[in-house]
Chain length 85, copies 2
């Protein structure tokens, strides 16, 4: 069993209104040290396979075909082993 921790970020230059609004809210709450907030999405995908390179191939395909929008997103992931249950 593997778990892939996949992070889907916005590409540089793509507007991040949620980040902007979060920053504004933090300022209103008195967090004056905050100079930037970027948001991203995180998926933990559990895979029932014994083969790490197979898991890696699958995760790469998932990102390309479903999880990330190639126009606005870039993705990165870590794959870790977990005890099967």
């Amino acid at each position: 069993m593997f778990i892939a921790d996949i992070r889907i970020k916005l590409k540089k230059g793509v507007a991040d209104p949620e980040g902007k609004n979060t920053m504004k809210a933090l300022e209103l709450l008195g967090f004056y040290e905050v100079v930037a907030v970027d948001t991203s999405k995180f998926f933990s995908v559990k895979l029932d396979t014994q083969d790490e390179s197979e898991a890696r191939t699958q995760v790469e395909k998932m990102c390309q075909n479903l999880l990330a929008n190639p126009v606005i997103n870039e993705y990165s992931y870590d794959i870790r082993t977990v005890e099967g249950a």
Copy 2:
């Protein structure tokens, strides 16, 4: 300057419909090895301070006051130094 990478997860037992739907979509696309998908939210907050323990205190407060909903969320974060710009 510090960047805090903050991850806001759903507490165990809280429904994650986005994760469930993502899993269904992955199955429909032929990813039969997937046995679970959990989603979470990620904030990268850049702080203009020189004091790491101050940064840590601020981030803890941000999570409690704005970023996480204590009823359904748990949070974790890493703080790393970046070259000021």
